[in-house]
Symmetry: C2
């Protein structure tokens, strides 16, 4: 595994491989790797000839007062894991935002709800850094985890909008045996908090089932249901929203392909998770509208 | 000359050429070509193996009420000129902003003064479309004209910030024999207005000389001098500003490498032009500060 620290060095290495016919897969990370990251690497390894990963704790995506300074880091361990996973090139950019840096990439609408409402500037930071990483790595495939669902939708939209020649591959959330979604931030949990944490996913799953069975039909009801299921735990809900799966648009009553996404505070950690939900279509309209478009 | 209409077709053609070792030059235009555009093509032709041009009247860079609908077009003539100039690939994107398009690329600060103050959203439209064009054409060199000086500075900054693997080449403004900067919008001028138009460049040149000789030292004075020199003509000054050459930052008194840039209305046309100015350094400070940084 070769470690590169400048965009131009990475770009040269990638272009050399491409000239030789290699398909390039890219896995961007902020390090402190867990099995969710490694699943992305495995997918890239399976589908591509050259696997590029990056480790960069991107200051641009942390709002003031967030955990940038104390974001967990363990580079020697990350290197070991990536080597073992057979990564070819590791990009650890240095001076990635030089003096006078002034460019921002933003995606309207998709970034406004869910986490975007509570982390001002976060997704602009994500879109900007990923544009830079893609410009350097020029991959054929970009591997993202479904745990960061809103991020994945925003980057998918951005890639399409900017016609970046890369295919976005979204891999399933990797979970601990008890259901907790893997996250570098889980390290912030005390053992007691860690024992409570799986309730978060359970609350989402249970609410998703109620939506799917038609028992919960209202958007507000879905939010309340998640909240209710976290009562009595040390978790404080920041948001829970059932939105359309692709556009992350509000919909009420709940119908069609949705995502139920939420964030909770638990001790020093802020955890996010989401589940796919297929809400029942509305009752069939009368014959007159039989072939009309149903909303 | 091959004409391509989708980003992916262009990208495939370019990558094929690159695999064969070609250096790729790219000239983005809005069509209705004049010798300024063709000078960019000639520069690309001299320095590159594969020359890609684009014609796209980018709706995103026109503010409401601007001349998008009546922007001059003559595709058959453009094709003839580009063929004659030995362009290899011409990109004429179709459906470049599909339904739901939501991504914007912006460059802070540099886009706020000069034209940016009077054309809200203009430079965001430019940065966004050029990011898309560069993603499709993946050129080694991007050729821009100095006439659109602020645009060239913004795109240079954007390319550096996003570490796009392309070198920006800025070519001199091409002028008519009487000094008028070539522009597709000159076609809006009546013969009488056309006869007045060279006074614009003359006013900038004359003011630049006064700055260089030290007769004009104040930023406000420079603006007033350009305005004074247009009095009695049918031109109405929109702005004239002497700014630092690279950052387009205000500076007063005027010292060092500057650009004097201005916009005027003349009949139905809005014309822009600019000249480089080297203003005298301030008088040498006493010995104590001799080696200090002079502002």
């Amino acid at each position: 595994m070769r470690i590169l620290r400048t965009a131009s060095n990475l770009n040269q290495a990638v272009r050399r491989a491409r000239a030789g016919g290699a398909r390039i897969g890219f896995v961007p990370t902020m390090g402190y790797l867990h099995d969710g990251h490694l699943a992305l690497v495995r997918a890239a390894r399976e589908e591509c000839d050259l696997v590029v990963a990056s480790i960069f704790v991107n200051p641009l995506q942390f709002a003031a007062g967030e955990d940038l300074a104390k974001y967990p880091r363990d580079l020697p361990r990350d290197h070991r894991l990536l080597r073992k996973a057979d990564v070819d090139l590791l990009f650890e950019p240095e001076n990635f935002y030089p003096e006078g840096f002034a460019t921002r990439v933003s995606v309207e609408r998709l970034g406004e709800r869910l986490c975007g409402r509570y982390r001002p500037g976060h997704f602009v930071g994500v879109s900007t850094v990923v544009t830079k990483l893609l410009a350097a790595a020029e991959p054929d495939r970009l591997y993202l985890g479904r745990k960061d669902y809103q991020q994945a939708m925003i980057l998918t939209r951005m890639v399409a909008d900017l016609n970046l020649p890369v295919r976005v591959v979204i891999c399933p959330t990797v979970r601990e045996a008890d259901g907790l979604a893997m996250s570098s931030r889980n390290v912030y949990l005390t053992p007691e908090e860690r024992a409570w944490a799986p309730n978060f996913y359970r609350a989402l799953r249970a609410t998703a089932l109620l939506i799917e069975s038609g028992e919960v039909r209202g958007a507000g009801e879905a939010t309340a249901e998640v909240e209710r299921r976290l009562l009595g735990s040390p978790m404080r809900l920041q948001y829970a929203e059932a939105l359309t799966a692709d556009d992350l648009a509000p919909i009420d009553p709940l119908t069609g392909d949705l995502v139920l996404a939420a964030a909770v505070f638990l001790g020093k950690a802020r955890l996010i998770d989401n589940v796919a939900v297929r809400a029942p279509r509305p009752p069939r309209p009368g014959k007159k509208n039989d072939r009309g478009r149903r909303v």
